[in-house]
């Protein structure tokens, strides 16, 4: 069942169109990452889904309810963390969470239980009696997340959940979201790439108010040309190795650095020794095997040349490149082109 259905969403501020015809679906229990540069329309889209902003056109359905016809039903099902955690500085963490729970319509006998649960999940036990204004940014962000969780909503919408946190806290928040994966349908926005990779099953890349790509991470990285990056360290440098790698089909770039001891190989498209990957270009599982194949072939080649393989690292972290390609590309690039 589709938990969230967004179709033909348009939002304009006067002559400026912040969101242009955004369309996507999210299945129950899915974790979807919203990716895009600042000002791409991520927050606007999220605000519209949560019902705090009305769109200029298009419709949003959450759990089968239309956001504009049954706003209360939709809002009961959504936990929302805006860019800035919506906290009252003069309240203590506990009283604030109790207030939010009641506001979200948690029945009186369940309020305490739900507050305890969200405090426990976000690990706020040590500060529960403190005033929120005296808490650090990281704790406030966690209070914000606790606030989104407190009504145990089916859908969680998190706008940049890790912004302003230190690396340890970022790791904690990511772990928390991992934990929440099964129970809730989650949409989270970010402009930090590793975040999406570590947390999301699917990404939607938005640029200038349009969806420029939508796929699983694997699918996305595989479909892009030059998506497989392999870093090799060898103990014996040699032109032979470089030449051998370059001669592989599908390898379209070998950059030797560090005096030839480190090589950066990029491969993609039609990979393999002749004929092997002939027809396998259409469905994404085939492409996935393709990139595996590329790594396999490269490894084989390195061993065959007896260069003394010390390290072979596959850089899946190529999302960055995809992202840049998609978001800095000229406007004229049609959204369907990548899709």
């Amino acid at each position: 069942m589709d938990m969230i259905e967004v179709s033909g969403l348009v939002k304009s501020y006067g002559p400026i169109e912040a969101v242009k015809d955004i369309q996507f679906r999210v299945k129950k229990g899915e974790v979807v990452g919203f990716l895009g540069p600042n000002g791409a329309g991520k927050s606007t889209t999220m605000k519209i889904i949560t019902g705090s902003m009305a769109p200029t056109g298009g419709s949003v359905r959450v759990a089968g309810y239309d956001v504009f016809e049954d706003p209360v039903e939709v809002k009961k099902r959504i936990g929302y963390l805006p860019e800035n955690p919506p906290v009252y500085g003069e309240m203590t963490v506990e009283s604030y969470l109790r207030f939010v729970a009641k506001l979200k319509g948690v029945s009186s006998d369940r309020v305490s239980k739900q507050v305890e649960k969200s405090i426990e999940k976000t690990d706020l036990g040590s500060v529960r009696k403190r005033l929120i204004q005296n808490l650090s940014k990281g704790f406030r962000q966690r209070v914000g997340i606790a606030q989104a969780l407190v009504s145990d909503p089916e859908v969680l919408i998190l706008d940049e959940p890790t912004s302003g946190l230190d690396p340890r806290q970022v790791a904690e928040v990511r772990a928390l979201i991992q934990e929440l994966k099964g129970e809730h349908t989650i949409i989270l926005s970010t402009h930090i790439l590793p975040e999406v990779q570590s947390m999301c099953e699917r990404i939607i890349i938005i640029n200038r108010g349009r969806i420029v790509a939508e796929d699983s991470i694997q699918g996305l990285s595989n479909r892009m040309a030059g998506s497989t990056q392999v870093k090799i360290k060898v103990s014996r440098s040699g032109a032979a190795l470089e030449a051998a790698l370059k001669s592989l089909k599908g390898v379209h770039g070998v950059v030797a650095s560090d005096g030839g001891y480190t090589l950066q190989v990029s491969a993609g498209g039609q990979v393999g020794s002749a004929g092997q990957a002939g027809g396998a270009t259409q469905d994404s599982s085939a492409r996935f095997e393709n990139s595996d194949l590329a790594v396999e072939l490269i490894a084989e080649t390195v061993v065959q040349t007896k260069s003394g393989l010390l390290e072979l690292k596959r850089d899946a972290v190529d999302l960055e490149e995809i992202f840049l390609k998609l978001t800095t590309g000229e406007e004229s690039q049609s959204p369907g082109g990548v899709r």
Binding site: G51, M53, A54, Y88, M91, S95, K102, L103, G105
Partner: protein, 255 residues
């Protein structure tokens, strides 16, 4: 209803936990105490003079002491309520907590009513304090409760108007300073609309303005008559201002 109470409860709690409320309450009581004490002393002197001259009781306690107290309470409330109601919406907007309210399963009407209720109860708490001044005199002397009670009913309704106006002002801006200034101007204007009746030569128009005269309605309450026209007038002002605020809150979604 539960939603309204939840929002009102939160706002009241935050107001009662803040130094703002107590500074306002402190300043109010200082002003009231000084003036009330002076008025009482004056009245005591005047009535003992009357008694010596054998001219009977003289002026009534209600019209000399209480009325003066009540008009001062009214004057002070214009400022006090403006200062208290400024936070109702501006604070939410500045804290970005408006997003929380707007994404919760509550309607704009419930948000507005919750806020109004919080402001109203806070203002009425101050009115209750001011009621102790005349009421405590009962220990020393007998007086008629009637006009005092009716004056206080008027006062409660009037402060309701101030709260509704202040709430509207705070919903219009993100700046607390601007909100206070607007609220003060609107509240003072409320008192001067009635004066426009003199400015118009058309007798029907001036009749309309006469009915909009806060002062003349309030005077009836002080005189001891709780008239339907008076109650209707104050309630209408409250309803109108609350309705306008609700529209402003609702419009947040469309911007």
């Amino acid at each position: 209803m539960r939603e309204v109470l939840v929002i009102a409860g939160k706002d009241l709690r935050n107001l009662f936990m803040s130094p703002l409320f107590y500074s306002i309450a402190g300043l109010c009581t200082i002003a009231w105490t000084l003036v009330y004490f002076l008025g009482l002393q004056e009245f005591a002197e005047a009535s003992s003079m009357n008694a010596m001259q054998g001219a009977g009781e003289g002026a009534s306690l209600h019209f000399v002491v209480f009325t003066r107290h009540i008009s001062l309470v009214n004057l002070v409330m214009i400022f006090a309520v403006s200062a208290m109601s400024m936070r109702l919406f501006t604070e939410e907007k500045r804290n970005q907590t408006m997003a929380l309210l707007l994404t919760s399963p509550v309607s704009s009407t419930q948000i507005t009513l919750g806020k109004f209720l919080a402001g109203l109860l806070a203002a009425w708490a101050l009115i209750a304090v001011s009621f102790f001044y005349p009421a405590s005199l009962r220990v020393f002397t007998a007086f008629d409760w009637g006009p005092l009670i009716s004056s206080y009913i008027g006062l409660l309704l009037l402060t309701g108007c101030y709260v509704a106006v202040g709430m509207l002002a705070s919903s219009l801006t993100e700046s607390t300073v601007l909100s206070v200034i607007m609220s003060l101007i609107f509240n003072v204007m409320l008192w001067f609309i009635g004066a426009l009746s003199d400015a118009s030569s058309d007798s029907n128009v001036s009749k309309v303005f006469d009915h909009l005269n806060v002062g003349s309605h309030f005077v009836n309450f002080i005189k001891g008559s709780v008239s339907l026209a008076g109650v209707t007038f104050f309630v209408s002002v409250i309803v109108l201002m609350t309705f306008l605020t609700q529209r402003v809150v609702e419009s947040n979604r469309w911007r």
